[in-house]
Symmetry: C2
Subunit: 196 residues, 2 copies
DNA sequence: TCGAAAATGGACTGTCAAGTCCAAAAGCGC
DNA sequence: GCGCTTTTGGACTTGACAGTCCATTTTCGA
């Protein structure tokens, strides 16, 4: 593994971001290496220099890149679920994020194309889900400590359910283009926390 | 469109089911027309005779085929959500169905590969979702009529939320292999109906 | 400034799979 | 059984795209 010079690192990053952008716009299936090359003004040898594993390695890198954005896009609300208005603000932020994103979910797209069973893809997704669920659970615990949520509720299980609500809502949005299901599911999930 | 003889219809069906089976086992990406031909003991000309649109038309047909199974696999419980034990039985059936299916969701796989925006794919999925949600909503209404659910609850919105719970739970199962999220989300969704 | 290591350009190859074509066989209404 | 339509076999064409290779240029530490 050769050490990267400043220029090399920049090129690698350019390829990665270009690939991510192209995938976000056109989907994985319609993204060839040549597309990425053209868009980023790089050559084949560069791509294979920085991603020796070729297409597969590049896709995995894109998956990691996109996974990193998911939680960041929910900041700072996700880390501050300390009051009911804060939960509502987070809910709005999530809905807004996915409404903006539109019908394409790059992460889902990439990982399902890579095969969900692939070790690499699986690692990226499960780690994201795990952290996501952990942050929600932390919010639940905080509300429990504040006496706002029944202490008998299992925070992890509740967070798991809420996470599924989001995933399902987004998945449905992929097909319908509407965020109504996402909103309904999130509202129901949060309401369930309050009235357990 | 030539009229199909008995033999022709059988061949067409054989190709369709063979393609669906191969996709369920190996995923869309790893399914070529030649694979399908080999498995179904047919020739190229036959495939293009019955599916003039080629691969794309075949995939769409597979999507329709798989979509048709989804609700059928939830019978008879889905059509009979008339008591809390019945809801529980349905919940168990859904969990069981997806546990059996394992990590591959043929429908999701096919449609996301076809592109969720494609008119054909979109029609198949939205119609399935619509009918699914309708059946759940009918169950909610029935329980409302029986005085078991708060009549102030919007049945369609509740059904939308519950549907999102399922979709999200299944999506997470694709990556993790576990049905814990699906179970947690369904339980929460049904509990929300009771305690609204 | 010099030389090794890294970065780059781009032509070239090989593979694989979708889709075409035509001639031969089988089915079906009469 | 006759003739028209449907069905079938399978070779062939075409195109696309991942991945390879090597010569050349640039970077960067000593």
């Amino acid at each position: 593994m050769p050490t990267l010079t400043r220029k090399g690192a920049a090129t690698r990053q350019r390829i990665l971001e270009g690939a991510a952008a192209h995938i976000r716009e056109h989907g994985v299936v319609a993204t060839t290496l040549d597309d990425v090359l053209a868009r980023t003004a790089t050559s084949k040898s560069q791509l294979f220099h920085y991603f020796p594993g070729g297409r597969e390695e590049l896709l995995l890198a894109v998956a990691r890149f996109e996974a990193g954005r998911v939680l960041e896009d929910q900041r700072p609300q996700l880390g501050d679920l300390t009051s009911w208005p804060a939960w509502q603000a987070w809910r709005d932020r999530v809905v807004d994020r996915y409404r903006r994103q539109g019908r394409l979910c790059p992460l889902n797209s990439v990982t399902s194309h890579l095969g969900n069973g692939t070790p690499g893809a699986q690692a990226v997704v499960t780690e994201l889900l795990h952290r996501w669920q952990g942050e929600i659970a932390a919010g639940v615990r905080h509300m429990q400590a504040a006496g706002e949520i029944d202490p008998g509720l299992d925070p992890d299980r509740a967070a798991a359910a809420l996470l599924a609500c989001i995933q399902g809502g987004v998945l449905i949005q992929m097909s319908t283009g509407e965020t109504t299901h996402l909103e309904a599911a999130l509202d129901m999930g949060i309401a369930a926390l309050r009235h357990h």
